[in-house]
Symmetry: C2
Subunit: 349 residues, 2 copies
């Protein structure tokens, strides 16, 4: 069975302001300051599982050039463009129909383009296990992330405790409150939903037919256009007519054939500046400094990101976020980060 | 007697980092955010005393284009270029010889291009009084600024207490320590040295001959070149040979015919960010914000200067200096400003 990896790279990146903007969202940024974007890291990670002919990037038309620039060696026919923002369920259905038109007997995994996975070898091992299981059984597989703290920012996957290495999933839970999150963590029966899925095309398309007529029927109207030069104009016509719904709501919360592989792979969705801070290497004062000419005095436990070449002289900050971009400057206490979004609304007044 | 005003605009602006740089020093900046540079403000203030044909700008060759751009209506022959940095005494001697070549019977005032004078009408009145006195007496006149606090950042002028409106100067004092500054203030016999001087060409050139052979003799070698098309090449040859010395050291601390006019004109040399903060209008939280799209929360008594159009979101700073330029960012406690200069040396390591 031919294996593919689908990387979803169409998000608009409302977090990570001011670095991430709608014109250049998070997945295209070198947010870790290591010389490559999160998308490129995801792509390179995927190459450990499949060749690049079998890597498909799903993105918005608006970001086509950004993807091409970031992944110049990727065959351009492997970049599929959504003509409208209809959430993740139509996106994944489109990927499934496209891959089916290439290889009728195929399996594929779905990855987010803007997450980080620290332990790549563990990831590869878990993914291969997932592919093997999905291809041997008519089911939908997800890598569930072993929780390390009662995080209220993630969805959870409840699984059935038994002797099997691949666990039957009982339910998907939305982001919990802190008490619930603590219960989840203590029970040992929950995993974080990291948005990493594996299935055969056959099983997935069956699930779409079972649960989402408003998506699969719309996209399947004229499947002869897939994998032809007319695919984009066909998609431009039908894709905007699909139901706007997330894949979790549309399929994962309804399907009864979901299985989870517990994965301890150093995953984070890098959803906040504080999570980038936590993930990154600190200096002796607990600072994360992304800048090559910084003089930082009496400053600790802060994340400072200013483009290389720009001199910065900072003194007397503790637990701060300092992010400078050409068109915006953020100086904000790290423990108030959740209030940034509301504060940004004041710009509109 | 023909009156001139000489504005010294050759300083390299080591303070006000990162806004002021050697390529574009303080006098050329709109540091008050009012739409004109300090030089332009000084120029416009001078127009209340003389026509622009009688305003002479002394600057370094490097800044000729900046002066022309800032004062496009000034006759270009009124911009005199120093070919080397030899401090203020040679600069003023050059101005004197140049003006003498235009009008042998003339007087002139010297102003700094990067100071602020808040009460312009009082300034004009005091200057006229100074011109009148200098033209009627063979002496050197200075406007002494009435001190409002025991400032240790300024030089002081000690004067003879008597009934005359124009006071005989007894001595020039260098920057004092705080106790001495307090004594000066309490005695009522000291003024700040604001670097504002008025004299006739005759009296000044006499003083140069008396005290500074290494300057006036060098520059006077071939006075026929002044006010001709060969002036610049002549100056390029002789000016670098003059003694490098400040006018205060060379003349004012030695001459015995100095008189002071007490001036309460709202003068400041704007020597520090804190002084700009003090001088500027504050919002309800005591902040001075030079930016048109700022969202500032839980922040007080701070000066924030970021180019218009750049969004800034700042929270939780108190008594801070936040200055953002294209190539540098400063975030520093206001009461530690005197340590910025030392901190900047760390960039060189």
């Amino acid at each position: 069975m031919k294996r593919y990896i689908v990387i979803m790279a169409g998000g608009i990146g409302t977090r990570f302001w001011p670095s991430s903007t709608e014109d250049r969202p998070k997945q295209f940024l070198d947010i870790l300051d290591i010389g490559k974007s999160l998308l490129r890291m995801t792509y390179e990670r995927s190459l450990q599982l499949v060749s690049n002919e079998h890597i498909i990037i799903m993105t918005n038309k608006k970001y086509l050039d950004l993807v091409k620039k970031d992944l110049p060696e990727l065959p351009s026919e492997n970049i599929l463009c959504e003509p409208s923002r209809n959430d993740t369920a139509p996106c994944i259905a489109y990927a499934a129909l496209h891959i089916k038109s290439r290889d009728i007997d195929s399996s594929f995994a779905v990855l987010s383009s803007d997450h980080v996975i620290h332990f790549e070898q563990k990831f590869v091992t878990a993914m291969i296990k997932g592919f093997d299981y999905a291809e041997a059984n008519d089911c939908l597989v997800t890598l569930g992330i072993k929780p390390t703290r009662p995080d209220t920012g993630y969805g959870y996957i409840q699984f059935l405790q038994d002797d099997h290495e691949v666990k039957k999933v009982l339910s998907f839970k939305e982001k919990p409150d802190i008490d619930t999150a603590k219960e989840y963590l203590e029970s040992g029966l929950y995993l974080w939903n990291g948005g990493i899925f594996i299935w055969t095309n056959h099983s997935l398309i069956n699930a779409f037919h079972k649960y989402t007529e408003g998506i699969i029927d719309v996209l399947s109207e004229d499947v002869k256009f897939f994998n032809t030069s007319d695919e984009q104009s066909y998609i431009d016509k039908v894709y905007p007519l699909t139901d706007k719904i997330s894949f979790d709501y549309a399929i994962m919360e309804k399907a009864d054939n979901i299985y989870a592989i517990e994965a301890d792979i150093g995953w984070t969705d890098l959803g906040t500046w504080a999570s980038l801070y936590e993930y990154s290497q600190k200096d002796d004062n607990g600072n994360v400094i992304q800048n090559d000419s910084a003089v930082v005095i009496d400053t600790s436990n802060s994340i400072i990101k200013v483009k290389d070449g720009k001199k910065i002289l900072i003194r007397g900050l503790s637990d701060y976020i300092v992010i400078d971009e050409d068109n915006a400057l953020l100086i904000f206490p790290k423990n108030k980060e959740q209030e940034i979004k509301a504060s940004l609304k004041k710009f509109e007044n």
